[in-house]
């Protein structure tokens, strides 16, 4: 187990290095640069800017400077927010995205497992049809619609009571987190419901379930002990990368609910071609994703003892 983990971690470092390099190359190939602005500047001012930010050096030299800095943990200063270090940006905003994301995953996972199991148990009866209809809606309607609708719902709710009970935007208390995390988790919840349903339906027909039933075990015991545990593997598979994606990709939700998370920085950095933030966030996200995948793979071994990884 330990050897496996170490091997994976080492492979992970190599992967992150590849990600950084590919992104760096792509970033410099794309036309435009962080210094361009709506109002063009004279050639002299442009030269001053390039010298100040080291963009007048050849690209390969910039790459090695970047690598050197990255190894010492320094991602430099943002081009768009010129007095903030990229490390500080990640340190200040990632925890917020993480909390939002984890809460969203919590909703999605509990909801997904619950609804999925229900649809499998009541297959082809009313609960199944209703839930599947909601799932279809959940995946066909884009997330920005749900975010807008969710916020509108809160405004109307507050208006009904004549005062602001649940905040419609912002961050700080658990009440601020409820609606945004529910909206963020909706897509994943729909996916997990569907996955859970199909894998439960497979498991339910397995021989060992029939045996358990024939043995006289209670349905609850069968459900939790056997069905759930065997059906949950695809859910876990999906969960790993989804956690990474949700914690860093909540761009729309962060925008609509005015949440100071990292998601906004991801998108805006690319739009502004803010080199340092792009590299910092991509490397961070890459490392986070790789770590989540490693954890999930190790979990596999615990959940299904038959799975051998090496």
């Amino acid at each position: 187990m330990l050897a496996y983990t170490l091997k994976r971690l080492f492979a992970g470092v190599i992967t992150v290095w590849f990600i950084a390099t590919a992104t760096f190359i792509a970033m410099h190939q794309v036309p435009g640069d962080p210094l361009m602005n709506d109002k063009a500047v004279s050639a002299e001012i442009r030269a001053n800017l390039e010298a100040k930010y080291g963009l007048d050096k050849p690209v390969t030299e910039q790459y090695f400077i970047f690598l050197g800095n990255m190894l010492s943990g320094d991602f430099g200063i943002s081009f768009t927010q010129q007095n903030r270090r990229v490390n500080d940006i990640i340190r200040d905003h990632f925890p917020i995205s993480a909390i939002l994301g984890l809460l969203a995953i919590f909703f999605a996972a509990t909801g997904g497992v619950l609804w999925g199991a229900l649809t499998a148990i009541y297959r082809n009866r009313l609960p199944d049809i209703v839930i599947m209809f909601l799932v279809i809606l959940g995946i066909s309607v884009p997330s920005f619609v749900f975010a807008a609708l969710g916020q509108l719902f809160l405004v109307n709710l507050n208006s009904l009571f004549g005062q602001s009970i649940i905040p419609v935007a912002g961050w700080g208390t658990i009440w601020h987190m409820l609606m945004p995390s529910m909206v963020l988790g909706l897509g994943t919840m729909a996916l997990l419901t569907r996955l859970m349903r199909s894998s439960m339906l497979e498991v339910v027909n397995e021989d060992y379930i029939k045996t358990a039933r024939a043995k006289g075990l209670s349905p609850t015991r069968i459900f939790f002990r056997h069905q759930l545990r065997n059906a949950i593997l695809p859910v876990i598979t999906v969960l790993g990368p989804q956690i990474a994606a949700i914690t860093t990709g909540g761009f729309v939700v962060e925008l609509v609910f005015a949440i100071p998370g990292l998601g906004r920085y991801f998108v805006q950095a690319v739009q502004q071609l803010d080199y340092t933030v792009i590299m910092g966030t991509t490397v961070f996200y890459g490392a986070f994703l790789v770590l989540m995948v490693i954890i999930v793979d190790i979990l596999y071994g615990f959940i299904d003892p038959r799975v051998r990884l090496s």
């Binding site: 001012i45 768009t80 927010q81 010129q82 007095n83 405004v155 905040p167 739009q271």
Partner: protein
């Protein structure tokens, strides 16, 4: 019906709460370029002069001044102080301006100090910073030596790039200057006490401000930062913020909530800019004249943009620019083409004779939905009325800038907002040396008129020159004006005295007060 909870405005404590559209990128006044930073700095700091409620230049840190062809002298008031109690001196202005032109700062607005002697040379690295033509004769007297006679210098000095910075404080902070609330010194009506990046800010009344008895507000809270207009409308409806801008879709929701909608023309003009480089089809004057006569200027404003506040696009120079004694556009009315399909077709025939056939033209637009919508409208008109095929090239911000710089377009949707209150801020746009002249329009007569305006101090001479420039822009169809931008917004009715500005901090809450 909205809930007017105490969050948005509070009479007893004279506080109001607003939202910002983005995290302020730069609060270092020597380097800031964007609207959000500019508005914040306009509340937190103050320059030699400032605007009154109605946009007239009045004394700020300087209590009086004198100007002639070679120098401008400013006498500073005694009681102007920084937020740590120390006085604001002429040295602070000299130091700040030296930072602006210092090539190491790489300030994008260094050009605005060009009228000061040696500023341009210092910025190019040819002279040391100490040679800047701004000298502190003593603590309270600032003498500015001008590179050329500049009648509008005092109006220039309102801009944030001219704000003072105290040397000892600046140097004590090093490259952390303006990184956090504690890394700035304030001499304006308000000071920044809290700053949580991307989340919130808090500005409270600066008790050391020289005119603080005339400031009614005690605090301005920025509790939310989001670019989503609908989210801000929701916050306004929920009684959480006191001000928000509306756009073409959210205004209908605001109307149905029975909110008071207000209107403001921002003073920016938007136009289609042609590529005048040789070899491009748009270099052909007849083609441009044809396109000039095929648009009904009312349609863009009334049907496509369809929000109140936008004015018809008639000229590069917007309606608010001052002429000799009255508005420039009243003294020099803009020449109009109007919708004249016969003329358009006549010019098109001439163009076809000269070019052979009209190839599909490329319109470069940004990826914002309004820009794409305008692009589709223009595409429809050109196809229906003239049979010209227009392809819409949607590009994200930086890629669009790169294409504009390298000239990879036939027509580009462009706009310009004023930097200072003088006709030159628009007039010199199409001078051949201006980097913002993306289409590379090159007309020696136009250049001559711009130089004349730059170097003369006689208002009649200058305005006559610009009047002729306006005529050239029309005769040569250098651009096709689309509209003058207007915005609609909501403001809590309990707040009085808010100023909206074309140049300067906008909205300006300095003179605001909350009524019960």
């Amino acid at each position: 019906m909205a809930i007017h909870a105490s969050d948005a405005v509070d009479f007893e404590s004279q506080t109001l709460t607003i939202a910002l559209t983005q995290e302020p990128p730069q609060l270092n006044s020597t380097k800031a370029t964007d609207q959000v930073s500019g508005t914040l700095l306009g509340h937190l700091m103050q320059g030699l002069v400032r605007y009154d409620r109605r946009g007239k230049v009045i004394p700020g840190v300087a209590e009086r001044w004198e100007m002639d062809e070679k120098t401008a002298t400013f006498w500073l008031r005694e009681d102007a102080k920084w937020s740590d109690g120390k006085p604001v001196t002429a040295h602070d202005f000299v130091f700040a301006w030296q930072r602006v032109v210092d090539p190491k700062t790489a300030s994008e607005y260094a050009f605005i100090l060009a009228p000061i002697l040696n500023a341009a040379e210092i910025n190019e690295g040819k002279l040391p910073v100490s040679q800047l033509g701004a000298v502190a004769l003593d603590d309270r007297t600032l003498q500015v030596n001008l590179a050329r006679p500049t009648a509008y210098f005092v109006k220039l000095a309102v801009f944030i790039t001219f704000y003072p910075i105290r040397q000892d404080f600046f140097e004590s902070r090093g490259d952390q200057y303006a990184a956090e609330a504690k890394d700035l010194l304030y001499n304006g009506p308000f000071k920044l006490t809290e700053w949580t990046h991307s989340a919130s800010l808090k500005m409270v009344k600066n008790e050391h401000y020289w005119d603080s008895e005339n400031i009614s507000l005690n605090a301005i809270n920025v509790d939310y930062i989001t670019a989503d207009t609908r989210a801000r409308l929701n916050l306004y409806t929920d009684g959480k913020i006191a001000f928000t801008r509306l756009d073409g879709e959210t205004y209908k929701d605001a109307l149905s909530q029975r909110f008071r909608i207000r209107r403001f023309t921002t003073g920016s003009t938007f136009f289609l800019e042609y590529n005048h480089r040789p070899g491009k089809p748009t270099d052909n004057r007849n083609l441009r004249k044809a396109i000039q006569s095929v648009f009904d200027p009312d349609e863009m404003v009334n049907r496509v943009l369809a929000t109140p506040g936008n004015l018809r696009g008639e000229s590069l120079f917007p309606v608010w620019i001052n002429g000799v004694n009255d508005k420039f556009r009243k003294e020099y009315p803009a020449p109009q083409a109007g919708y004249n399909i016969k003329e358009a077709k006549r010019y098109l025939e001439l163009a076809v004779k000269e070019l052979g056939s009209i190839p599909p033209l490329v319109l470069l637009v940004s990826d914002s939905p309004t820009a794409t919508k305008q692009g589709e409208y223009i595409q429809g008109v050109l196809l229906n009325k003239l049979g010209i095929e227009l392809k819409i090239d949607v590009q994200t911000f930086k890629q669009r800038l790169a294409k504009m710089t390298s000239g990879e377009f036939d027509i580009v949707g462009a706009g310009w907002g004023p930097d200072f209150d003088d006709i030159l801020t628009f007039g010199d746009l199409f001078a051949s040396w201006n980097m913002n002249n993306r289409g590379r329009y090159n007309n020696p007569e136009y250049d001559r008129l711009v130089r004349l305006t730059m170097n003369s101090t006689d208002p009649k001479t200058r305005m006559d020159a610009m009047g002729k420039a306006q005529q050239i822009l029309f005769d040569d169809a250098v651009i096709l004006p689309q509209y003058e931008q207007g915005v609609i917004y909501l403001l809590n009715p309990k707040i009085k005295g808010v100023a909206r500005r074309v140049i300067g901090p906008d909205p300006d809450f300095t003179y605001a007060r909350i009524v019960p």
